[in-house]
């Protein structure tokens, strides 16, 4: 007995190692980035890129993110509702399921390439905000669909039964019971999807971004500036030294972290508020 106990401890220690590594790397990145704090001044955030500021990149990134969420949110949520509540389980659904998994694992450079070929060229949207929204939405979709499916499956069956037994139709049940109960999980999955694409570079590389624009885009059909894209181009193409772009890196980092944190905080908040999820 003693022997197996001590083995157990050894194994658990080994299993704990990856967690420890993750934490270490995370704090290392954080500390490296925080050293960049010195290089940014607050007015950089509001200064135009033409004067060496970050304003258009920050707002451009926000435009990209919100637009992508605006596309992937509704599409993903309705897809998930269909898959969980309406679709009959069969071969077609299995194929769709697998396609969603594949889309989730697709390298973003390929999604970017597809976006360029299809949205920019085929649909004629050109290098524009709109092409970026659609391309990023493709990357968000699997996260939104899977997250929403999970949230819907967490809604206890007896809620739906209660509504059906009162004479509610299936759609009324979905609309007024299932989706409101799953809403926190749905919102969380959209936020996590946004966190996933907030730092995305490859997908916007040749679909929506340029290095410098004169002010903010005036329509969805104009190109846009973005933090991740600028960071990439400044280092790779312009050969600027890394300490020059610390500011951009830090803002990008904080942006991604804050989306993920808000998502997680919301999830915790609603778990407390919704006793049936405990």
């Amino acid at each position: 007995m003693m022997r197996s106990r001590s083995w157990e401890k050894v194994f658990f220690t080994i299993l704990g190692a990856p967690a420890a590594i993750c934490l270490t790397v995370f704090f290392w990145i954080t500390s490296v980035l925080l050293t960049g704090i010195g290089t940014i001044r607050l007015n950089l955030l509001t200064t135009s890129a033409l004067q060496g500021g970050l304003f258009e990149m920050i707002v451009g990134t926000a435009y990209l993110l919100l637009g992508a969420a605006g596309v992937a949110g509704p599409v993903g949520v309705f897809a998930a509702i269909h898959l969980t509540e309406y679709a009959r389980h069969g071969r077609l659904i299995r194929v769709i399921d697998q396609a969603i998994n594949n889309l989730a694992g697709m390298p973003s450079i390929l999604i970017g390439l597809f976006g360029y070929a299809f949205f920019c060229r085929q649909l004629g949207l050109g290098i524009s905000l709109a092409s970026g929204w659609l391309t990023l939405a493709l990357m968000m979709l699997p996260i939104v669909i899977r997250g929403t499916e999970e949230a819907i499956k967490m809604v206890p069956y007896n809620f739906k039964e209660a509504a059906l037994a009162l004479g509610a139709s299936k759609w009324e049940t979905v609309k007024s019971v299932t989706v409101p109960s799953a809403a926190p999980g749905i919102i969380t999955s959209i936020l996590l999807g946004m966190a996933r694409v907030a730092g995305e570079t490859a997908a916007i590389l040749f679909t929506s971004c340029v290095l410098v624009t004169r002010g903010l885009p005036k329509s969805p059909f104009e190109p846009v500036m973005a933090l991740a894209f600028n960071l990439f181009v400044k280092i790779v193409a312009l050969g600027e030294s890394p300490d020059k772009v610390f500011g951009i890196a830090l803002i990008l980092f904080l942006l991604v972290i804050s989306f993920a944190s808000v998502g997680i905080a919301l999830r915790i908040y609603y778990r407390r508020k919704q006793p049936w999820l405990r």
Partner: protein, 250 residues
């Protein structure tokens, strides 16, 4: 109030033949108890009356159930309207994740029966009818989950009453409740029978004896005995019934 006339009812779940050729007429204005050991098909019989069985995959039903002379299993029955007329209360209290008020108002809104002031009146009347009003009148907009189990169950009864049903189905409504809450629900059932057709499923023989006017005894999907409660309990015709009532099996 409505009479429920069940004719040659058979229900299958996939290959499992759960109810076999059931024929019985459930009286209006009375409490009818369906009793029997676990797995005998009591709940399935109850859920056949509001066609809730068909929300489960693989369910197949043959035979007829007439409510006020109309076969609810013919093609042109509006199942949503049927479920308004036949209210249901479940084994485990299942309030919706909404306020107390919204729970009672839910069905009324779904069926567009009333809104505004009239809706408030319906909610109040239903909660009074379920003997819950005095306990919740000052906290109507609190979550339904803030209520105790017994209160939640009465809320579910109020919710079913709000849409003007004729029949109330109760599926072991007290099995998750303590004795005091159970007693309140039983008293309530007696009162409801003055106005509605009340059908209750129970595996509790004493409860069937206490609350019902008529009792049906089911065993392995078959109707073994059906009659006035007094008669069935005092002089059961079938040996199985007698053994079940005396607690020999169950």
């Amino acid at each position: 109030m409505a009479e429920v006339d069940i004719r040659k009812l058979n229900v299958w779940f996939k290959d499992n033949h759960v109810l076999k050729d059931l024929t019985l007429t459930i009286e209006e204005n009375a409490v009818t108890a369906i009793m029997g050991p676990s797995g005998c098909g009591k709940s399935t019989l109850l859920r056949a009356i509001n066609r809730m069985n068909e929300t489960i995959d693989g369910c197949r039903t043959t035979g007829e159930i007439y409510i006020d002379g109309q076969n609810i299993y013919n093609g042109n029955t509006d199942v949503y309207e049927l479920r308004r007329r036949v209210g249901m209360v479940f084994q485990k209290p299942n309030p919706l994740p909404k306020s107390i008020f919204e729970n009672v108002a839910f069905g009324v809104k779904i069926h567009k029966l009333a809104d505004g002031k009239k809706l408030n009146e319906i909610v109040e009347r239903s909660l009074k009818e379920a003997v819950l009003w005095d306990e919740v009148k000052d906290r109507l907009h609190e979550s339904a989950f803030s209520l105790s189990g017994g209160q939640q169950q009465r809320l579910c009864i109020a919710r079913a009453l709000a849409v003007n049903p004729e029949i109330i189905l109760l599926d072991e409504p007290c099995s998750a409740l303590d004795p005091i809450a159970t007693q309140k629900i039983e008293t309530l059932m007696r009162k409801l029978a003055e106005k509605y057709t009340v059908i209750i499923v129970t595996h509790n023989v004493q409860q069937a004896a206490r609350v019902s006017d008529y009792v049906a005894f089911l065993y392995l999907g078959k109707l073994i005995e059906y009659g006035p409660t007094k008669q069935v309990f005092e002089s059961p015709k079938h040996e199985l019934t007698e053994r079940y009532i005396t607690g020999e099996f169950g």
